[in-house]
Amino acid sequence: MLRYITRRLLLSLITLVLILIALFALTRVFPNDPARQLAGPFASEERVQDLNERLGFQDPLPTQFGRLFRDVITLDFGESFSQPGVRVIDLVKPALWNSAKLVGLSLLLTLPLSIFGGIMAARKKDTLLDRSIVSFGLASASIPDFVSGVLLQFLIGVQLGWLPALSNAPRDSGFFTSLKFILLPALAILFVYFGYIARITRAGAITAFEADYTRTAYMKGLSNREVIRKHVLRNALQPTVAITGTQMGYLFGGLVGLEVVFNYPGLGRLIVNAANAPDFPLLQTAVLAVAIIFMLATLGADLIIAWMNPRARLDLGE
């Protein structure tokens, strides 16, 4: 087990270095004159020179890459370009926390509902219920998140007026008030993910319902509820756990359009702003944060699967 974790972490490290190289290439190597781009077309030549010196753009590329590597290890990414004097890490941290709140709430809504939907569809396979869950899931999962965001904002936020249409809660609002403000984007995420997760769970549950061990469990005289809880769920949910792990990076950094629609200060919106500025240190740090979350989440998912399934544990131990 320990050997497996070390091996996984080493592989993640390689991936991380590759991402760093890509980030470095995109932000330092390819832009013609990053200092000029930062200072703007009307800045004086002295200012551009000054920026070049201060940010070390004229050092040899390996030196610059080494510096980026050191920044990552010491978790010190320097100051933001667009907001001078503010440390990048101080901009990323609150955005990360905001994203975590939104992702947490939406998973709390999405996972139970879509697992329930998937199991129901599998139990009533090929009935009207199954077909409608599958087709609704297919439709809702394929719509871009900002589109379903706009549609829900219009229907629930404006026409029905049930929830605030924008998610910037007033300062110092209590727990429940701030919860109310992020409920609408969380519902949009539910809309995007329900179908996806329900379909994965359904596929896993159909296999589990048809398996010999399930038949044995029924023949032992266990009740329906017990069979589902003890035998079906444990096996059917493994793909669901794996998928949730791999979607974590997307939930934290990929819902850019959704965060823009609801004006939510999460990681996604931070990255768009950094990209538009352009604010390279901020962009690098935020993207790196998304990559690290993805890695930890997939590792976590694998460990949960190993805990659920002794056979997977055997595979891991080699």
């Binding site: 991402i19 932000t27 390819f30 439709a139 394929s142 706009v150 549609l151 990076g249 962009l283 993805f294």
Partner: protein
Amino acid sequence: MSTTEQPSSTSTGDDITITPDTAQTPDSYIPPTDRNTIKKEQRAELFRTPSFIIGFSITAFWVLCAVLPGLFARWGENEAVRVDDRTIARQGPQSTAWFGTDSIGQDVYSRVIYGADNVLVNAPLSAGIAVLFGAFLGLLMGYYRGWVDEVLSRIIEAVLSLPVVLLALMVLVTFGASRTVLVLTIAGLFTPVVARTVRAAVMTEAQLDYVTSAKLRGEPGMFIMLREIFPNITNVLVVEFTVRVAYAIFTVATLSFLGFSVGSATDADWGRDIAEGYSLIQAGQWWISIFPAIAIASLVIAINLIADSIAKVYSA
């Protein structure tokens, strides 16, 4: 010229559950074994599937809009709607402007029609390039394995660990948003996923006897990959292409919503039109952004219906 006849196995190693639709066929029915007959039957089966017909009709409508927008549009792409010689801006749906008018008085309905071409050119183009490169890489990785596979797999994993929209955003910031950059970026970001799917399919095929016998005949690797394995994985490629088109539409629309659209600034573009209108929803002027949003939603759902029906027909 090889004469290896493969009894067209379409098992792709995918975990799609097969619905026993073939149960109604009579016992005397002998399934055809000739590849062309199978293809023909599959196509006929496809056009009997309701979800395919719906998806196909909606997609055909939007393609028609992209090719001949004048057929449906009632006003010009950048024409202001005029009533009694006065421009009407930000007016709700009415008889002169079915979907209302936007903030500078353009007809939302006509702009929805004109906006179809942006996604319908860029998305299939990038999906096509991605499938081309992904198939090539997947064949190499799945057939040769070894260190090439190992290295490419690491790179693929790195690309897949970040959301496509994020990576695309960074590339577009660095190189500027032009049509070439957009198409190549999306194609490049989709290539790893395609390569991974094709690799899995090739690995399944490579274990079959016909590949072994071709190897024993001493055929070169390139020949085995392209003339022996490739014809047997075209089904995988077709499904992968349709799925990628849907994701490419998703990505193109999201990027143009975020301000990275190609083409001139006055062109109708669903993503950008939503970006310009969504803040007016709270003011009650919903039609400016909701109609392009419905257009995107209908197109992506249609493509997904097509992809799903094709996958079902192939796996049945």
